[in-house]
């Protein structure tokens, strides 16, 4: 592995080529310094499929959780919370998401659905979400060419209505999720006929050629091209397994009612825009879990409200609270704690319209890339939310460039006279020696965006390049509407968080959406054949060293011909009452929006 990547580590698909390619690492947590991570360890064919990562911190150590002696065996999917978990009680969480509907295929929010539904695999919460471990599958085999996945399906799993889960339930759920258009009744998926909403996940899995039940305990999935991150893509909470019976009853639309799942919790009550309530599944396939009797997920939009609910004793957990609470955590340490980690891999990005003058000129985009003081922008915004500076990928992925290396690269160095001079030369060559009218900078009405970051960027452009933009705050759909209007007469610039990756550890999944020509989130219509070629190559590459080399080349190209301006990647601060255990926030790598089956109350 190249030296510049050795201090970055996240996991890679642990089942890739049937070996455990572990990238141990200590993840950012509350009060911890960013630790140097394990470098490119040698592949070890003899390692078990999933083992908690060994942390090798450069600074303060994060104590590894000690699984209970009784039940924890991540390699079999049998998890248990560390310590001596107590049973019973009711936990209330304060969560930004709302359920929407009961069909994950149609946008039923996965963070809520994942309490009641499982997938074949999941990310291991006991190691901070570093490795993929079994769930409804007990194990899997991958062909040497990476095209065939064979899952062994767990015996004795029941749906909430008591029906036994079979391999056909799994296969059909996967097919439906992938939207292959093949259902048990032989019907084709027919848009416009008796359906409601198209799948939001179809484009993420367009390389999957089929999913079939081979026998009672085996499901075979075939890919048209290999993907090293496939298991992460189908891990909970991305996928929900429904019963074949319910899918056959209505292949298209399961939005209206909660179909039985196999998860640790059972739907009890849903109040739109307000809450979703679950009770414990007494017949969960992992007899150790869950510990709590009831889970209520409140839909709380404002971040500060979530924290206040915890401080007021009305909630136990919130996965995103304002940074202020993280910084003031000592003042209420007798009641609650706050931890910091990666968010959902989202970034703060100024999208540019690549087909509209003057942003259609590569030199102009490069100038806008060079001149602004990126660390300064991060510092300004960090008053309201924690950010992590990085370079085209989330900072904690294995492909991220180390921060000290980034800070040497022109365009990332902060106040840089050389970079500004180069930017001015580029603008001059493009015919804008005195700057230009940059049009409108659309942002949402979130105060941190519209009143802090957007004006800061505006000031940078004006003062350094003579580029003037007008900040235009718009509510939710108004801003999204602008993003979808990326033609020659469309938007000029939009500040958004849409540049993100479905699989954070494999950020090419985000590049496919936002940078590759024709990508669903390539709102600015960026088109660069060389970058496209590299993205496709990285996406299919299985050798990690080759991937890293290609990531590096792609980042160099993107620096020279950027599609947009990435400020930084967001960090989240999760808050929890002191009596809530099993949340693993101190070691959690990112905001997973996954199952909270390890929660327990220490009272």
């Amino acid at each position: 592995m190249s030296e510049e990547h050795e201090t970055n580590g996240r996991w890679f698909d642990t089942a890739l080529s049937r070996r455990n390619v572990l990238r141990g690492g200590v993840l950012a947590g509350a009060g911890l310094a960013a630790a140097a991570l394990v470098g490119c360890g040698d592949d070890d064919d003899d390692e078990p499929a999933a083992t908690p990562a060994a942390a090798t911190p450069a600074a303060t150590a994060t104590p590894e959780p000690t699984p209970t002696a009784m039940a924890a065996d991540p390699s079999t999917g049998m998890l248990a919370a560390p310590g001596n978990p107590k049973r019973g009680g009711s936990v209330t969480t304060s969560y930004w998401a709302r359920l929407g509907n009961f069909d994950i295929y149609h946008g039923g929010h996965r963070g809520i659905m994942s309490q009641a539904y499982d997938s074949v695999v999941r990310l291991n919460p006991l190691d901070g979400l570093k490795t993929v471990i079994p769930a409804l599958a007990t194990g899997w085999e991958i062909s040497p060419d990476g095209l065939d996945y064979t899952f062994s399906i767990r015996d004795g799993v029941q749906f909430h209505d008591g029906a036994a889960m079979t391999s056909e339930d799994v296969a059909m759920s996967l097919r439906r999720h992938i939207a292959l258009g093949e259902f048990a009744d032989g019907g084709e998926f027919a848009p416009g006929e008796n359906n409601r909403l198209p799948s939001r996940y179809a484009t993420q899995l367009d390389y999957v050629a089929g999913a079939n039940a081979v026998d009672a305990n085996t499901v075979s999935v075939k890919l048209s091209t290999p993907r090293g991150y496939f298991l992460q893509m189908i891990s909970a909470p991305q996928v929900a397994v429904y019963s074949e019976q319910h899918i056959k009853a209505d292949p298209i639309d399961l939005t209206a009612d909660a179909a039985p799942g196999t998860g640790p919790f059972v739907f009890q009550e849903y109040r739109p825009e307000e809450l979703t309530r679950f009770t414990k599944n007494p017949n969960y396939w992992n007899p150790e879990l869950p510990y709590i009797d009831e889970l209520t997920m409140l839909h709380t939009v404002q971040w500060a409200d979530r924290a206040n609910l915890i401080l007021g004793g009305q909630a136990h957990y919130a996965n995103i609270v304002p940074k202020d609470f993280y910084e003031d955590r000592e003042s209420f340490a007798d009641r609650a704690g706050v931890a910091q980690h990666d968010g959902t891999g989202a970034s703060l990005t100024f999208y540019l319209n690549n087909v509209k003058p003057p942003y259609n000129d590569e030199r102009v985009r490069r100038a806008l890339f060079l001149a602004p003081n990126r660390p300064g922008l991060i510092e300004v915004y960090s008053e309201s939310m924690s950010l992590a500076g990085s370079r085209w990928v989330s900072d904690s992925t294995y492909s991220a460039t180390p921060l000290d290396r980034i800070q040497q690269i022109v365009g990332y160095r902060g106040e840089d006279e050389e970079a500004i001079a180069t930017a001015k030369q580029l603008l001059s060559a493009a015919g804008h020696a005195d700057g230009f009218d940059g049009g409108t900078l659309v942002t949402n009405t979130n105060q941190a965006h519209s009143e802090i970051l957007a004006p800061a960027f505006q000031a940078e452009l004006r003062s350094k390049l003579g580029v003037s933009v007008v900040v235009d705050p718009r509510d939710g759909s108004g801003r999204t509407d602008q993003l979808n209007n990326g033609g020659a007469e469309g938007f000029d610039m939009v500040l958004t968080v849409h540049f993100r990756a479905p699989v954070i550890s494999e950020f090419v999944t985000g590049w496919k959406d936002a940078i590759r020509s024709g990508g669903a989130r390539n709102y600015g219509n960026y088109s660069n054949a060389a970058v496209d070629e590299l993205i496709n190559s990285i996406d299919e590459e299985l050798d990690i060293d080759a991937k890293l080399e290609q990531y590096g080349r792609a980042m160099d190209m993107l620096d020279q011909n950027p599609p947009f301006y990435v400020v930084a990647f967001t960090k989240h601060n999760a808050m929890f009452s002191n009596d809530l255990k099993g949340h693993m926030e101190e070691i959690r790598g990112f905001t997973e929006e996954g199952t909270w089956d390890l929660f327990w109350l220490d009272k």
């Binding site: 509907n101 401080l311 009305q314 669903a520």
Partner: protein, 317 residues
């Protein structure tokens, strides 16, 4: 009386028609495409093809007049449509959240009356006294401070000093009166004192006006006590402006005081409407606004009817 009511209801129809046209047109003019909104921030978005598919499914690709007629037809059948985002019938949202806003609204009006009317009468009777100046001072102060700000301060004080916060999960009064009142008393109080300040000012000026009337002078000349003059003649004749304002205030409160609901995390209709606007949830927006129009008309008819009982000189014929 029944003719009067029938006439008022019939007159309400063109008003409602106008409201429906305005709201239908407005939400289609303002920026925002429902299909462009992601409900799941972390997942993939719709492609252009899928968005078109979605428009067909949601029926928003059809001609505007067809959409309007379908919506109005649904309203006449009691079908308020289905929320794009919540995938829930709007009527269900109204059923869940309407009682919350209604209860808080009624409580707020009651608190406003209990506070504002006595204060206003006192100020008028003791005009230019120290007590009058003090009551006017507080009335202006309460008018100047936004209700939501008061609410936020109360919440922060409760959380930080008392480590207590109203329960976040709504319970109907008949299910759990204690939790219900814990949740609704705060917003009702905050809005009640705000409205009460208005009532106090209006009552004071109305009472002063009535007290200077000839019939009041006659009453005093007949030897009635001041108390009897006040209760028997002045109050009843000065209450109509207060009743009028109460009707207007209640109509607005039923729609939900958004900022106060936000401060107290109360799941009322106001927050629903804001969420709907943010998400371009057209069925939710247009049906809720239409319902507000209906509630305003009904409340004002009730107010007009009440005039007849308050002041017999007013006839409905």
């Amino acid at each position: 009386m029944s003719k009067y009511i029938a006439r008022r209801l019939l007159l309400g129809i063109p008003t409602l028609f106008g409201i429906s046209l305005v709201i239908f047109a407005s939400i289609r003019i303002i920026p925002g495409d429902p299909t462009a909104v992601e409900s799941d921030v972390g997942a993939a978005v719709f492609t252009e093809e899928q968005q078109q598919q979605l428009r067909e499914i949601l029926g928003i690709d059809r001609p505007l007049h067809i959409q309007y007629l379908e919506w109005v037809g649904g309203l006449l059948r009691g079908d308020l449509g289905e929320s794009f985002v919540a995938s829930t019938p709007v009527i269900e949202i109204v059923r869940n959240r309407g009682p919350v806003s209604l209860q808080i609204g009624v409580m707020a009006i009651a608190i406003g009356w209990l506070m504002g009317i006595p204060l206003g009468i006192y100020g008028a009777v003791r005009q230019n006294s120290a007590g009058d100046y003090l009551s006017r001072f507080f009335a202006v102060l309460l008018l100047a401070v936004p209700a939501f700000l008061m609410g936020l301060v109360i919440i922060i004080v409760l959380v930080i000093w008392l480590q207590w916060r109203p329960p976040p999960i709504y319970q109907h009064f008949w299910d759990d009166p204690v939790v219900n009142l814990q949740m609704t008393l705060g917003p009702a109080l905050v809005m009640g004192v705000n409205i009460g300040a208005v009532f106090a000012r209006v009552t004071r000026s109305s009472v002063l006006e009535v007290m200077s009337s000839e019939f009041v002078r006659t009453a005093r000349a007949k030897g009635l006590t001041e108390r009897r003059v006040l209760t028997g003649h002045v109050v009843r004749n000065s209450i109509i402006p207060v009743v009028t304002i109460s009707g207007l205030a209640l109509g607005g409160l039923i729609g939900g005081a958004v900022a106060v609901e936000r401060a107290f995390l109360v799941p009322g209709l106001g927050l629903s409407l804001v969420t709907g606007v943010n998400s371009s949830d057209w069925p939710l927006i247009q049906s809720l606004v239409f319902l507000y129009g209906v509630s305003f008309i009904i409340v004002n008819i009730l107010i007009d009817i009440s005039y007849v009982f308050i002041d017999p000189r007013i006839r409905t014929g």
